[in-house]
């Protein structure tokens, strides 16, 4: 089978045995050779490490079977950069002032990793043998990645490297130990080594040429240099000489002109002043940009003659017609080449010329242009892929290829930069154009030009806006219509990874105010969460975010009782709050007796509700009553959680099974993304201690068969939750079962993590125990936590929002007045007639949530209809859109679009979808705007959001793109 598979692979790649064909695509390809630039989508075909063809994607068909790597329309491909100077190897100079026997190739470590240099786009480098000598040896040209061992050298003898500049004028004296050092022989003295001046350097070069002609040994330069130099001269190796000042350069030009030797000038700090002469002599220049990033600046001297660094040398050389390559500073790392080039280009060098000076020109100067430096067919497939122009400081390297292989690629999702023509911040302001940097789940920067950390993914688009907020949705309730108590923590219902949740987020609704269906008399909590969050921490924005109450049920005939229960709740809440306020005041003024143990003090002072004594007392009793001691054990009821491994991909996935065991029947639900994208409702039966339970998931029928095994309880219970249970029961139960679904099956063993069926489970009792010593006398007594009134207290203190369902105009006014008395600005829900009293409501309510009837008409109005959203908003009352649906939240933008189509301000509609909704629920510090510091929930749109036909292209939640499978 394996054989047939491999054959199939070969067959798909064209003829069997042929090397693989790779097609690399990007928006722009700089071929460099002949100044060719392919724009608007180019394709590069690579076979066997060489470029086979390069052209516009429209003109070059990708042959069937080729592997296609597409970097997208904004990416740019350029030839791998050729660094004409580098610091690789241990460049220690020889003892002699001139020694051509030192080979840089011997110094270069082929086994080391050059990842940081490759990451900067440099794929080929010249390695000098050493520095600081008149002749320091032979340089080499080497690829920084690729084939094995010495095949990576493009040339082991690329040039005779030397310098007549000031760095080469301090050669120490030469001394050789005599063997044997006897009295007769003596130790001898060291021999002085020249040159010390430019003049001396030229003289020394003359002497060396003479030596080479003679081929004999020399007392001054040692026995080797003559013959070795003669060999190199016979091969017509270029001399790569460093010279900085005008005088030095002129001296070199003179000497090499006279002797007719090929010269390459390096360093070249003042070469621009001799541009005409250099051009006439046809001497190529390697200009070392005199700037060392990541190093302290140098003081270069204060007198007039001091040479300060100049960055316009290259542009003047270009103007003078000199062939030049750009290299990093002498002694600067090769990875700074791209930066050095951007500095060079600021003196007005065209991008094309700079790119050439980093690729083809150095390759020509180094004699390796037949292999590297351009992307013409036949050359090595060494490429650098950048997120924008290869020379723009703001573009970063996405990937580097050497000989058709990716040798470096950026780590994904480190940071994302969105570049858009139009950014709707969410509060009504529009920036055009704008960029947004998403970093670590937050918006790090917003502006015209933002930072680009290494590895940023750059995404371009038409427009961007904050993720939308569904101000009242049911997504996450999974159809449940139970009404939880005010104390219930809704965040226990949500969990990451649901497909429907991701679809809603991909449609643009990245936050949902999850509100249960129906309202209880003591108020019902709401949760603000992000459906597409990857973990609970990033999912939950605030729990609770609001308390929902009902002023007048829509069809309640007992109108005189309207508001009674809300008033009562507010009264109770106010009393409760007062007790706590008094307590806190008393606690602040109370001074503890000196010897009192201070350990428990700080927590209590804050009144944070961690009061252990009174808390939950009634609750415990109730529970005991509910569970008679002789009730038969129901070993299956509860929650079973584990991690399972996808047999196909090897990825880990959470599995959670909740079961309710009644008589012989079992019901429950399963959450496991392997088997189903959504929650699976299960039902089944129990027989002889084994369960068999099944349900319909998104991919078909899911079946679980297994039984419970009792396992000795380990001493260290992993989850805090279990601790109490663990103390009581010596055993922990595990469910060993087989899960099968259409397309796969697996066996799992899940420990029991809860013992009740938790759909309407009460919040667990708090774990903190009163360990502290008896309280000191005279300490004010805590009023105790009442979990049912805590949300009301939070609303009274303005920490959470209060949503009141109210419809009629008079009741709205009553309601607002009642809330004003206790200092609350409520959010009105329903509020059919709010438009009638809009003027009176302004400033007194946090906002209004209308239902889906955007336009509204009745018999009185005839055919005229009014847009309630638009009217309220223009009256200065914030409105927000809400779905009152689960996955139907995805249609929220359509509701807003309809409102716009019927006269609502487009900017106002965006505000209502984003910042207004966030502000009324007091979560504006997390979501609702595209602003630095807020959560990175951003939508990329295919057009202006002000146009109704615009759709959401891509969405990010907490900095991660929402991906549908």
């Amino acid at each position: 089978m394996l054989a047939s598979l491999s054959f199939a692979l070969l067959a798909s790649a064209g003829s069997p045995g042929a090397p693989e064909l790779v097609a690399v695509q990007a928006g722009t390809i700089h071929v460099v050779a002949e100044g060719r630039v392919i724009e608007g989508g180019g394709t590069l075909l690579i076979r066997d490490g060489k470029v086979v063809a390069v052209d516009k994607s429209s003109a070059l068909a990708v042959p069937p079977g080729a592997r296609v790597v597409d970097y997208g329309p904004s990416a740019v491909i350029a030839p791998g950069l050729v660094c004409a100077d580098s610091t690789f190897g241990r460049q220690l100079p020889a003892e002699r002032t001139a020694d051509v026997g030192i080979r840089a190739a011997d110094n270069f470590d082929l086994y080391a990793s050059y990842a940081s240099t490759l990451a900067s786009g440099v794929t080929t480098a010249y390695v000098p043998p050493a520095r600081g000598r008149l002749i320091s040896g032979q340089g080499a040209v080497v690829k920084l990645a690729g084939g094995p061992g010495a095949t990576r050298f493009l040339s082991t003898s690329a040039a005779i490297e030397g310098s007549i500049s000031s760095d080469a004028r301090n050669t120490p004296g030469y001394w050789e130990p005599p063997i044997p050092a006897t009295v007769d022989v003596g130790l001898g003295v060291e021999q002085r080594q020249l040159p010390r001046t430019t003049m001396g350097a030229i003289l020394a070069l003359r002497e060396l040429l003479a030596l080479a002609a003679e081929g004999g040994p020399s007392k001054e330069y040692g026995p080797y240099v003559g013959p070795e130099l003669a060999q190199l001269l016979a091969k017509n190796r270029p001399w790569r000489m460093r010279a900085e000042s005008v005088g030095e350069i002129r001296a070199l030009l003179g000497f090499f002109g006279e002797n007719g030797l090929p010269l390459v000038l390096s360093g070249a700090g003042e070469a621009d002043e001799l541009a005409a002469e250099l051009a006439r002599a046809g001497v190529a220049v390697i200009w070392n940009v005199p700037l060392r990033p990541n190093a302290p600046p140098l003081d270069r001297g204060k007198d007039e003659e001091s040479r300060w660094p100049r960055y316009d040398v290259a542009s003047k050389l270009a103007a003078g017609g000199v062939r030049f390559a750009i290299a990093p500073a002498v002694g600067g790392p090769a990875s700074t080449l791209r930066f050095a080039a951007t500095v060079a280009s600021r003196a007005g060098l065209s991008e094309e010329l700079v790119l050439r000076a980093l690729t083809l020109t150095p390759a020509e100067i180094l004699g390796v242009a037949d292999r590297v430096g351009s992307l013409a067919p036949g050359r090595d497939a060494d490429l650098v892929v950048t997120s924008g122009s290869p020379l723009a400081p703001t573009s970063s390297v996405i990937a580097t290829w050497v000989e058709g292989e990716v040798v470096w690629k950026v780590k994904e999702t480190a940071a994302t930069v969105l570049e858009v023509e139009e950014l709707h911040v969410g509060d009504g302001t529009i920036l055009a154009p704008a960029q947004i940097l998403l970093l670590d789940g937050r918006i790090a920067e917003v502006g015209r030009l933002v930072a680009r950390p290494e590895g940023s993914t750059v995404v371009r688009g038409q427009a961007a806006m904050p993720g939308m907020i569904d101000a009242r949705g049911h997504l996450g309730l999974e159809g449940s219509s139970k009404v939880p108590a005010a104390r219930f923590e809704l965040k226990r219902l949500v969990e990451p990874g649901d497909y429907a949740d991701r679809r809603v987020a991909a449609a643009g609704v990245t936050s949902v105010i999850l509100t249960p269906r129906g309202v209880g008399s003591g108020g019902t909590p709401s949760l603000a969460y992000k459906p597409a969050g990857v973990d609970l921490e990033s999912m939950v924005i605030a729990d609770p975010v609001a308390l929902n109450v009902q002023w007048s049920p829509e069809r309640n005939p007992n109108r005189h009782k309207a508001g009674e229960s809300v008033r009562e709740l507010l009264r109770k809440g106010a009393e409760y709050k007062k007790r706590w306020d008094d307590y806190e005041v008393a606690l602040k003024s109370w001074t503890p007796p000196p010897p009192a143990p201070p350990a428990a003090e700080p927590a209590k002072k804050e009144g944070s509700g961690e009061e252990p004594k009174a808390e939950g007392e009634g609750e415990t009793k109730k529970e005991k009553e509910e569970e008679p001691k002789d009730a038969p054990p129901k070993p299956f009821t509860g929650t079973w959680e584990t991690e399972v491994v996808d047999p196909a991909s090897g990825e880990k996935t959470r599995l959670r099974l909740r079961l309710l065991h009644e008589g012989e029947k079992l019901e429950g639900n399963l959450r496991c993304n392997l088997a189903s994208d959504s929650l699976v409702e299960l039902s089944g039966a129990l027989s002889e201690g084994a369960i068999s339970i099944s349900g319909l998931g998104s991919r078909g029928r899911v079946l679980i068969e297994g039984k419970v095994i009792e396992v000795e309880k380990k001493k260290d219970a992993k989850k805090k939750k279990d601790e109490k249970a663990a103390e009581e029961a010596p055993q922990v139960r595990r469910l060993a079962a087989k899960l099968s679904w259409p397309g796969g099956e697996l066996e799992f063993e899940a420990p029991q993590t809860g013992e009740d069926y938790p759909v309407a489970r009460r919040p667990e009792r708090r774990k903190e125990k009163s360990e502290s010593a008896p309280e000191p006398k005279g300490k004010p007594k805590s009023p105790g936590i009442n979990p049912d009134l805590e949300p009301v207290r939070a609303a009274l203190e303005g920490r959470i929002a209060l949503v009141v369902e109210v419809y009629r105009a008079d009741e709205i006014l009553d309601c607002v007045r009642a809330h004003e008395e206790v200092g609350i600005r409520p959010i009105l829900f329903g509020a059919d007639e709010a438009w009638k009293v809009a003027g009176e409501l302004r400033g007194r309510v946090a906002g209004v949530l209308l239902d889906h009837r955007v336009t509204y008409s009745d018999a009185e109005m005839g055919t005229r209809s009014r847009n309630r959203y638009a009217e309220l908003q223009s009256a200065g009352i914030p409105v927000a859109f809400q779905s009152s649906a689960e996955e139907g939240a995805a249609e929220l933008p359509m509701i807003a679009a309809y409102a716009v189509a019927n006269g609502m301000s487009p900017v106002g509609a965006i505000r209502a979808l984003t910042s207004d909704a966030a502000e009324m629920f007091r979560i504006g510090h997390r979501v609702g705007r595209v602003q630095a510091g807020l959560d990175a929930d951003v939508l990329l749109l295919d057009g202006s959001p002000l146009r109704v036909g615009t759709g959401v292209q891509r969405a990010w939640v907490a900095g991660r793109e929402v991906r549908l499978r």
Binding site: G89, R90, Q91, L92, G101, I102, R103, F108, D109, P129
Partner: protein, 483 residues
Amino acid sequence: MDRSLLRTMNGTALALGLTLFAAGPAPAAQSGNVAIRAGKIITNTGEVIEDGTILVENGRITAIGKDVKVPLLVEVVDARKLVAFPGWVEAISNRGMDRANENIDVAAFLDVRDSIDPVNFYFEDALRAGVTTINVQQGSDCVIGGMGHVVKPLGMTVEAMSVVPRAGLVLSAAPRRGKSQATQAQALRRAFGDLRRYLEGIVQEKRDGKDLARREALYQGREPSEGEQPDKGVAMKGTAWKVQGMELVPRWELDEKQVPLLRMVEGDTPAFVYCSSPSEVSIAIEVARDNGFLQRTTFVVDAPCWKAADELAAAGRPVILDSNLVHVENHPVTGEEVRTFVPGVFHEKKVQFALRSQNASTQSLWYQAARCVAYGLDRQTAIDAATKVPAKILGLEQRVGTLEPGRDGNVLLYSGDPLSVTSFVEHVFIEGVHAYDRSKDVRIKHLQTGAQPENTSASEARPEDRTEAEKQGDEGEEEEKDG
């Protein structure tokens, strides 16, 4: 130090009724005749003999097996509770010398023979660790270091210890202190360039009718060696390059400084080339190949050189590993620590490798082999790397590394498995001579019991430190007492 060694060995000899050196009346033991009856004999040829006998005559094993007829007058050592094992072979060591010759870069004319210190503590310790064959070579801080010497850790003179004299030249591709890899490579290449230029020069002189070389040789007091015709040379051998006309120059006239290198180019001398990093391996291979001695070269590699295992495999030559068996580096991108078990890589790439101890007592060969087993290498490969492979590298595969008839009588008697930390070398026989007895090892006794060895009390001056007069005084006192 020398005295205590002597004493240890003396005591050993007494304990087993044998005698060492000239101190006793049993010359049979000195001549290397002994029969060892061991509870178990691990011959290292794949055969394990329970309750067998090893008969050693004249220093060589003549018989081994269950029923060996022991001739009359051969001492029988009863070691039926012990395990016999061949002596370990140290493939290269730069210990045991009074000073390494590392001051001159190219010093092929030096010989460690002149530097070996027979009473060096190292050799005593080698016995404790069961190392019976040691290739003493120059260290790596050189270009061409000099001639090595294979010795056994037994004897009071280099001549007595000698197993193979002139056992190979040491070269180093690893840069000397303060030098770069390129200068080192250049110096290595130039050493051979210099040799060639010298030979060409001297041939040219002969052709020109000058006789400077002979005059210099006579002036230095050199003479033709035995069997050499005083006026006739021999043509140069060698596979890589040759200097024509060498038959004109008698060898004794050649500069002594150049001769060892010439012999190496001619393929007569083994070479040991130090490499500290993988890129030096390719330089070393290139130099060895270009000068015709690759087929006699062993690479002495440091841990990072596992990266060049492919090149070494292609060269087909063995390596001697650094005592550091695990190479640790940080991943260049992630920064994670990456550990590589070096012998495992070479084993996988089918490169023959020998282990090397850090010192005779710390991380000795048995320990290195045991570590290899702990890292998952199979046991026989690990043991071979400290016995047969080094024996082969030293050209001694017919003499040491296994217990077979014809091999040297180098036998270790272990108290248990040789690779176990709980077993010890109880006795060592080198060429049939009883060289070590753990029960009489005063230093071990000192370590175990805390007892001061005789005459080494910390409070008193040690005997050798005392002046001659004091010693005489002591003797005088004794005499008085006796009287």
